[in-house]
Amino acid sequence: MLGYYAATAIGSLRRSKALAILMILVIGLGIGASMTMITIFHVLSGDPLPGRSGQLYAPVIDPRPLARDHTESPEPDGNFTWPDAMNLLRAKRADRQAAMAGGAVPVRPTQSGELPFYETGRYVTTDFFAMFQVPFTAGSGWSREDDEARARVVVLGSDLNHKLFGNTSGVGRTVRLKNTDFRVIGVVDHWNPQPQFYAQINGRVFGKADQFFLPLQTAQELELDFNGRFSCWDSGGDARTSDHCVWLQFWVQLDSTSKAQAYRNFLLSYWRDQQAHGRMPRPVNAQLYGLMEWLAHEHAIPDDLRLQLSLSLGFLAVCMLNVVGLLLATFLRRSGEISVRRALGARRWDIFLQLGVESCVIGVAGGLLGLGIACLGLWSVRQRPDGYAQLAQMDVSMLLATFLLALVASVIAGLLPAWRACRIPPALQLKTQ
């Protein structure tokens, strides 16, 4: 019976070609636009570190003085002062913990004649590599002793290693960063979690991978330049090691929820302890965000994209309203046919089913068109200059979702018109003809 309905559906669509094409176009546009944005969202809100993200937490404390005016944000920006980061690091209350900051240094190529170039990377502490499960192609990270001794060691990203040493690993060789020679002790395999959750969350959180890692204390001693927000309060200079400038990120690994609870309590007691020493005067309110929670809290996905998603869903809604109206019109136009069928014994349910199949046919056609438009949309997104652009790819789950959305949308769009049409009384229509 469904096959017969599908055949009559295609037949009747053929008869009102212009309206059918219009409906397919409108569904296609709505589905295409919204699926482009939904796919981008799906890709960007993915887990940057599957398998480990559940155990990673970003602690947040607020070392600022009491608010003096309304111009400052009520929430801390999540960055740490040097003393706080070092205290938490040395307390070792988590399974693993690391402090870090983004940095940029001039790299001087080993061959003479080549000009120095800038590279961005990260100053981190020893646990960074094990905590984030950084894969190495050669060598490894450094030890806690190296941290304390401010060792001149560096781990290179795969691209920088290739740039400097070609296809061989640079482990054991020396690179000159700014004015200092560093011994290469490891080379990271292509590792580029998206978003770069451990960095300060800003417009550049998607995109380029870190190309070097070197000990934070070493970078501090050599006064290497760091990137990102550096905010200070009170007077007494903007010293990086002072307790009134926040600029470091701090991450901990906690293997169970009970450990997370314990760590939260530790943060609270740390805060109270600092208050006893005359610091951190704000009400004690330590937070511990899980990785995914942190990304949501910090709006890792740009607000512009959220707005675009809402807009595309609004567009889909208008398209669907349009299709409902057009379907209603095409169904009611066939009042005569329907009342004849009803007079010949078709039940309401039969009419409903027949018209439902008809809207499904339109939905499938619109879905196909929408898929094409979504692929085109994603292609155009990939041409954008933003860091997330390259991630905008259709995958199997999104492909299926596109079809499902098109089908569900068209069935829903067909429900009301079909319901209205199946209430056409038999015979009565015949009389008026």
């Binding site: 409108v26 001039p106 004015n179 200079g237 903007d238 607000d303 959220r306 309203l321 009611l332």
Partner: protein, 403 residues
């Protein structure tokens, strides 16, 4: 023409009419808000940075050799850059409007007092104001003896010793509303700083939504960092050549440096607003697509109604209605439907705006977008119905006699 049959016929299609009204309302609400977002972004993009944008060329130099006397190196570089034919003036600066490198200080009226607002601190060599082409509206330029080192090596403590500042007019109005700011003392750091001049306008390195985008303080501090931006002023047509020459000149002076982002100020502006441009083109196409879909829906339904009513149109023609009457009937019907949609749309537009303000910190919908959007939708509705209505008006009276 009496409107009662019109209303009566609309009530016979309650569902369809309701759907159309809803669609027009949603379209109206979305398009009004989209237009307001576009307008706001365009205004931001058009904001004058205060500098002579089409005459400036920039190049960043990062010296790898930190031990050297940076001030002396900058002087050597500046002298060499000044020698490039076509360069009218050149300055070394720590940051520029729209460059993204922002150093802000809280501005207080007393030592360690509460900060009234925060303002960007720009530092540069004595030719900075002339090179950037900033327009002074009051006061004087810095005196040679006022210049001190920024002292980046000691946490930028120059800010605590600098004697004078030139501020932007918008900052002056924020700090001293209605008063003459000249001679007033502010505390951007530990020490007192006297305001000696006011420039008409200068943007901060990064803009935000608020009016504070123009809060700027200029200081007579020489940037002594290893990383420095050289700004050259020239005739617009010389910029590209000067950029190439500047790269060669700086590399030949000292190859132990990294040159970054050689660009004209126009490039810098383009880069800064790249995302906004993408967003605007996206919003624009979304709004157009919405209007198109709605127009198509109106036209589709109208032509369906015309077909359905062929007989009654024929009867009306037979009993004396002119073609004009039929045409006007469908136009009026469309106006009633779209008008109802627009009225509902205006309410929805403000509702949507409130939601957007809350969720995305967007600005309030300026009132004129709403009547403009309503007008556009009414016009589009009329345009969409014109074809079907004209077809209706050509239905011959003889149709009434057929069955």
């Amino acid at each position: 023409m009496s409107h009662s049959p019109l209303i009566a016929s609309l009530t016979r299609h309650k569902l369809t009419v309701g759907l159309l009204v809803m669609q027009v309302a949603l379209t109206c609400a979305i398009v009004c808000n989209v237009a307001s977002i576009i307008g706001h972004r365009l205004a931001q993009m058009r904001a004058s940075s205060g500098v002579v944008e089409n005459e400036l060329t920039l190049i960043e130099s990062v010296s790898v050799d930190e031990s050297a006397n940076q001030l002396a190196k900058h002087d050597t570089d500046l002298a060499a850059l000044r020698g490039i034919p076509g360069v009218q003036s050149v300055a070394a600066v720590d940051s520029l409007p729209l460059s993204g490198r922002n150093w802000s200080n809280g501005i207080a009226f007393e030592p360690n007092g509460p900060s009234m607002t925060s303002a960007t601190a720009y530092s540069g060599t004595p030719e900075e104001l002339r090179t950037l082409g900033l327009r002074m509206v009051a006061g004087r330029l810095f005196l040679p003896e006022e210049y001190i080192s920024l002292d980046a090596a000691h946490d930028w403590t120059g800010i605590n010793r600098v004697p004078s500042t030139i501020i932007s007019r918008s900052l002056a109005e924020k700090l001293f509303p209605g008063k003459d700011p000249l001679g007033k003392v502010i505390y951007p750091g530990d020490g007192p700083v006297r305001i000696v001049g006011v420039v008409e306008q200068m943007l901060r390195p990064t803009l935000d939504e608020s009016e504070s985008s123009g809060y700027v303080t200029l200081f007579p501090m020489l940037p002594d960092t290893a990383s420095i931006t050289y700004v050259m002023r020239s005739a617009p047509q010389d910029r590209d050549r000067i950029l190439q020459q500047a790269k060669r000149v700086l590399t030949s002076l000292d190859s132990n440096r990294v040159l970054r982002n050689p660009q004209t100020f126009s490039d810098l502006r383009d880069n800064y607003f790249r995302r906004d441009r993408t967003m605007i083109s996206l919003l624009l196409s979304a709004a157009l697509a919405l209007l198109l879909v709605t127009a198509a829906g109106i036209a589709g339904l109208a032509s369906f109604w015309v077909q359905q009513r062929r007989r009654s149109i024929g009867i009306r023609r037979a009993v004396g209605a002119t073609r004009q009457d039929i045409l006007r009937y469908f136009q009026t019907e469309n106006f009633v439907i779209v008008g109802a949609g627009v009225v509902l749309g205006v309410v929805l537009a403000y509702g949507l705006n409130m939601l957007l303000m809350e969720r995305y910190a967007l600005e309030r919908l300026p009132w004129f977008y709403v009547p403009a959007g309503a007008l556009v939708l009414c016009l589009i509705g009329q345009a969409a119905v014109l074809g079907p209505a004209l077809r209706a008006s050509t239905v011959p009276p003889v149709v009434a006699t057929r069955g």
